[in-house]
């Protein structure tokens, strides 16, 4: 009859052991994660806070050696100038177009490629490797390859365009702001350079979508498709009703991530056009204000606007994908 007492005593001591253990784990956790947190705080969080402060000051690059870190007068001038500048509003609009169509292009190309490469065929591994190259290669190299490819003097695109397709004259793809396409007597105005940087972004990023979609496609249960086929569903019907619904979640995730990355991207446009010919986006404008006009305050204000948009996107991401936080 002493058994119940023993049973009662056991959880008591076990709970105490668990408490110290939990405390020990907690201390170890904080200790182990602290180097990471310190680096991130010093190299990321503090600078962002400082950028916020800079955006409320009138600071030119030449003054920064004498600058007092928090000192100076605070003013809304930078934001005031921005909101009344057509340059900034144009850049914001261009950024939106660039991000939306760049994301769309990357997903469409990536989805098509993933569906094509889905089933095994000889040389599939090699094809998969080759399709990932645009995403892996250094952005500096591929931007200059595109520049040469599209060059009016020595590029192969214009050479074939004039020789084979009968263009009247070479098209300066990356320096022409507005071009016209005439189809069946109809003339349509086209923002040539912007279309080219969107194509570049889609080409460079489609492997990202391709990789994730291919991985997800491999996990679609085969018996579901088999059953549909037995019932007489055609390949397009299988895609539309079986595969696409399974991919919807991943596509949404890729869309948010790609939109964020494209919205942030600086290298691509800076290297291809330098932000000229109607391709100035917010990221390149930050750089132009900082370097060419050495206006630190205005540059920080543009960056803060970007940060605000990003904060909203981040919340969207967390709301819809926060629970599956495995995703990088």
């Amino acid at each position: 009859m002493g058994a119940p007492a023993a049973v009662e005593a056991a959880p008591e001591s076990r709970r105490r052991a668990r408490d110290t253990r939990a405390r020990r784990d907690s201390r170890a956790g904080v200790a182990l994660v602290s180097p990471t947190v310190i680096v991130v705080l010093v190299m990321v969080v503090l600078p962002v806070v400082w950028a916020l402060i800079l955006s409320f000051q009138r600071i030119r690059l030449l003054q920064i050696r004498r600058l007092d870190i928090l000192g100076g007068e605070y003013t809304l001038r930078n934001y005031d100038l921005l909101l009344n500048s057509s340059e900034f509003l144009t850049a914001a609009r261009t950024t939106l177009l660039y991000s939306v169509f760049g994301t769309l292009g990357a997903i469409l190309l990536g989805l098509t490629a993933a569906l094509l490469v889905r089933r095994s065929f000889p040389g599939r591994g090699l094809v998969r490797g080759i399709l990932l190259l645009p995403y892996v290669a250094p952005v500096v190299a591929i931007a200059f390859i595109w520049q040469v490819l599209l060059s009016p003097q020595l590029g192969v695109v214009n050479a074939w365009g004039t020789d084979v397709l009968g263009w009247d004259q070479p098209i300066p793809f990356l320096s022409q702001e507005k071009g016209t396409i005439t189809l069946f007597g109809l003339s349509i105005g086209v923002p040539t350079a912007l279309v080219m940087v969107i194509l570049f972004e889609s080409w460079k990023s489609f492997p990202f979508a391709f990789l994730f979609l291919l991985a997800r496609l491999q996990a679609v249960p085969a018996d579901l498709e088999e059953a549909a086929r037995v019932d007489g569903a055609t390949p397009t019907q299988v895609f539309r009703h079986i595969i696409l619904p399974q991919l919807a979640g991943v596509i949404a995730l890729i869309a948010v991530l790609r939109f964020i990355f494209t919205f942030n991207s600086f290298d691509e446009i800076y290297l291809l056009t330098g932000g000229g010919a109607g391709t100035q986006v917010l990221a390149t404008q930050v750089y132009t204000f900082l370097q060419a006009r050495s206006d630190v305050g205005a540059s920080a204000a543009v960056a803060m606007f970007m940060a605000a948009v990003l904060a909203v996107l981040l919340l969207v991401y967390l709301k819809f994908f926060g629970d599956r936080d495995r995703q990088p």
Binding site: A22, G29, P35, P47, I64, G129, A219, T234, F263, Q327
Partner: protein, 294 residues
């Protein structure tokens, strides 16, 4: 009955069309993904005068191959070249240092996030996610201003620190995913035998996670090698510290023939593609592990 036959024939038409379109589509994608790189190599081996004469020619005859552009790029500046050997060493050193520091810091961090319940774990998670998704250009301003003020611009070790901060979050995610697949019972057994936390990490978890650590290290190296914005902002005035990416971009600031530019791009691209092909499976598995769950 007729309905059934019509669906049956639509099925056959679709299957037949797809049988033709699929190889064509695959060929199209291989072409658009590969052609620019092929074009780069061909141009780097031709003479600029020949390219201007026949820009539509996309091959190079064996007897026309010229290595002049590579010589111009690789020779040190004292001999009239661009000194890319030096840039290669800089990029490699910068990449390796970034990998070493990032791995050392992120292995501990990832272990903590995957194994230990501690105060602020969710905040830390949110912090890393924000860093990963926030624009680099935003950091460029304060870091540029601060480093200018302290006179630290142009020095490679400080750039390493910037790269570490940029790559830490993704490393933590990649490593954490892997650590969670290591059975916890192994660690508990070691703990019963009296091993300390650091001993457990060093003797049990690390050896099991070698493939993930290798993949993460390679990934960090590739990011550091390809990075452009911070190299431009921090190093542009110190030519002897340029990375290959910056060196290639700076070629366009002076009058350089396209052949030289392409030779520089080949030198910049080849190490990365070799590394990637060598470790493709390792890298892609690490990155997409979450995707299957939908």
């Amino acid at each position: 009955m007729t309905n059934k036959r019509r669906r049956y024939s639509r099925y056959h038409i679709e299957v037949a069309v797809l049988r033709v379109l699929r190889p064509l589509g695959i060929a199209f994608f291989v072409l658009i993904a590969f052609f620019p790189f092929y074009y780069m190599v061909v141009l780097s081996m031709r003479e600029i005068s020949e390219i201007l004469e026949a820009p539509g020619k996309i091959w190079v005859g064996l007897d026309e191959i010229s290595t002049a552009a590579y010589e111009r790029v690789l020779k040190p500046t004292s001999e009239g070249g661009q000194g890319f050997v030096r840039f290669l060493l800089n990029s490699a050193g910068l990449g390796l240092a970034t990998v070493a520091v990032t791995l050392a810091v992120s292995i501990l961090g990832a272990y903590a996030v995957s194994r230990l319940e501690f105060f602020g774990r969710r905040t830390v998670h949110f912090l890393f996610l924000s860093v990963y998704l926030f624009p680099a250009i935003l950091l460029a301003i304060p870091l540029f201003v601060a480093f200018s003020k302290l006179g630290l611009r142009g020095e490679l070790p400080w750039l390493v620190l910037v790269y570490v901060a940029q790559t830490l979050p993704i490393c933590i995610y990649m490593l954490r995913d892997y650590f969670e697949t290591v059975p916890i019972s192994l660690e508990e057994a070691a703990e019963v035998d009296g091993a300390t936390r650091l001993q457990i990490i060093r003797k049990i978890t690390l050896p099991l996670a070698i493939p993930a650590i290798a993949a993460t290290g390679l990934f960090v190296f590739m990011i550091a090698w390809n990075e452009f914005l911070f190299a431009l902002l921090f190093l542009v005035e110190e030519r002897q510290n340029w990375t290959v990416s910056l060196g290639v971009q700076q070629l366009t600031q002076i009058e350089t023939p396209a052949t030289t530019l392409m030779a520089g791009s080949v030198i910049l691209t080849v190490p990365i593609i070799v590394l990637f092909l060598f470790a493709e499976r390792l890298l892609t598995e690490g990155l997409t592990r979450g995707a299957e769950k939908g």
